[in-house]
Amino acid sequence: MTFDLSERYDANGEVNSQSAYDATMDKRLIPAIEFRDVELAFDDQVILNKVSFSVRRGETRIVLGGSGSGKSTIINLILGLIKPDAGKIIIEGIDITELDDQDMMRIRKTIGMIFQEGALFDSLSVYDNVAYRLHEEGVAEDECEHEVLRMLRFIDLEEAIDKMPIELSGGMRRRVGIARALVGNPNIVLFDEPTAGLDPPTARTICELAIKLRDIEDVSSIFVTHEMNNLEYLSSEYAVIDRSGDVNFELAGKTFCLTNTSVMMLRQGNIIFNGSEDDLRATDDPYIKRFIRGK
């Protein structure tokens, strides 16, 4: 979908505030991510079977599912690392299904990807890892430094700027991975099991970063996980900035505020649940009940 920019300006070339408002609303109405009847199979094994869903702007979609259910495949499809056999994938109004690798490179620059183990470049320092995208684009070093510091402040790891990835703990590596993914202010962020194997407080820190992105940065995200703690944090808390500029996390029940998170569950390539956390917990489906409670 494309916008006619001429409608956004009046006869004098000034921004037409009503049109600008409409443009913002149009953009908000376009799903950030949309899957339409996406199918994928490797040889005889069906990975995704006519999967359709959409993620709105500013929404976090938690994707649950056991191993091999197709969770990570969804992320790889969004990034264009693999192509579907049938169906359409639309990212911010652009159909990426048929785009070649060259065009996908441009789309990928607008998406932040957080890998399970951080996937930091071993040979580069934390600074160079976070500045990677900017260095590739030939951005001036002053600007790089400013942006890297801003990102490291966001993840609360300014002191690690000169360290090498090997010197960092598992949780720190993942936080640096988040900072790297957020450089360039992507509208979409994909989390691929970012808390797997972390201790509960560190996992909580990662979730807080995801909540901050959702509520303060208005980022749309897909959060692949199979840890129920993450589901609880992301569904029940929201982030606010107080008068001193600090970020606080509050429970959704305390004030009239709805957390912009929904849950989707996959099983053998099919979506077996799509809705809110409350609906998920209230479901009678024996597989889902067993998945949530572990028995």
């Binding site: 990034l79 490179m105 071993d122």
Partner: protein, 256 residues
């Protein structure tokens, strides 16, 4: 997949990788610093083993051939024998095999580790082509470095042969040098430079392909490294035969 289908599939993938790395040269960024780093790592880093390889190969050639030459009274041709063998065959092939062992294994291990730790996926997710960033600079570095390393092998081989001939057999050094100068032809030098260019491309392509197609975690990295060295070495030897045949038909006679 049967072996023939697997071979054709791999050939297709390697050709595709070559095509994409050539295409990558047309667009910016061209990663000049990365190319220089790789030349430093591959070329300068291999200098020591290449010097030793060349020196002792030249030495052992004199050691083995001198008694026979002496039997026929042809000691004065010792320099020619060492120089032509080294420049035509041994220099390019031995340098390529040494580089396949040292550099080919390092390339496939590095790229393989990057694959299993999702660094390659991260690179693509950050909008960078791993072929342009990783493969093209390594191919250029090998194509530039291997001919220079081959010249080094040739040079130190001739020096090694000369030293052994003088020290063990008392051959006059001037006689040795004039025999080298008389024996080496321009066609030898052209062929001796062309071969390592092709060998560099073969080692680079195979090592990068094996590294990037690593599967199965850390054990897969070891397997990919072994396969890269074995496949590079075998292909260098096979390519040497066909290159020699092609050069013979170009330059005529029994050269190469």
């Amino acid at each position: 997949m049967n072996p023939i289908t697997a071979f054709i599939f791999e050939l297709q993938e390697v050709t595709n990788l070559l095509w994409r790395s050539i295409k990558g040269l047309r667009k910016k960024p061209r990663y000049v610093r990365e190319i220089i780093n790789q030349i430093d790592n591959i070329g300068v880093g291999s200098f020591g083993i290449i010097v030793l390889t060349g020196f002792f190969t030249g030495g052992v050639m004199i050691l083995q051939s001198y008694p026979t030459l002496e039997y026929y009274g042809a000691q004065s041709n010792a320099g020619q024998g060492v120089a032509t063998s080294l420049i035509r065959e041994l220099g390019p092939v031995l340098s390529a095999l040494m580089v396949a062992g040292r550099v080919g294994s390092a390339i496939s291990a590095e790229l393989g580790s990057m694959v299993v730790s999702q660094q390659i996926d991260a690179m693509r997710a950050l909008g960078t082509s791993p072929v342009r960033k990783l493969v093209t600079p390594r191919l250029i570095a090998l194509i530039v470095s291997l001919p220079l390393l081959t010249i080094t092998t040739d040079l130190f081989g001739i020096i090694g042969g000369g030293i052994i001939a003088r020290e063990l057999h008392g051959l006059d050094m001037n006689l040795y040098i004039s025999s080298v100068r008389a024996g080496v032809k321009i066609e030898d030098l052209i062929g001796g430079i062309m071969k390592p260019v092709v060998f560099g491309l073969i080692i680079g392509l195979i090592s990068c392909y094996k590294g990037l197609s690593t599967t199965g975690g850390t054990a897969g990295v070891g397997e990919a490294t072994t396969k890269a060295v074995v496949a590079s070495s075998i292909n260098v030897i096979i390519a040497d035969f066909f290159l020699s045949a092609a050069l013979q038909s170009i330059f005529g006679g029994t050269l190469f």
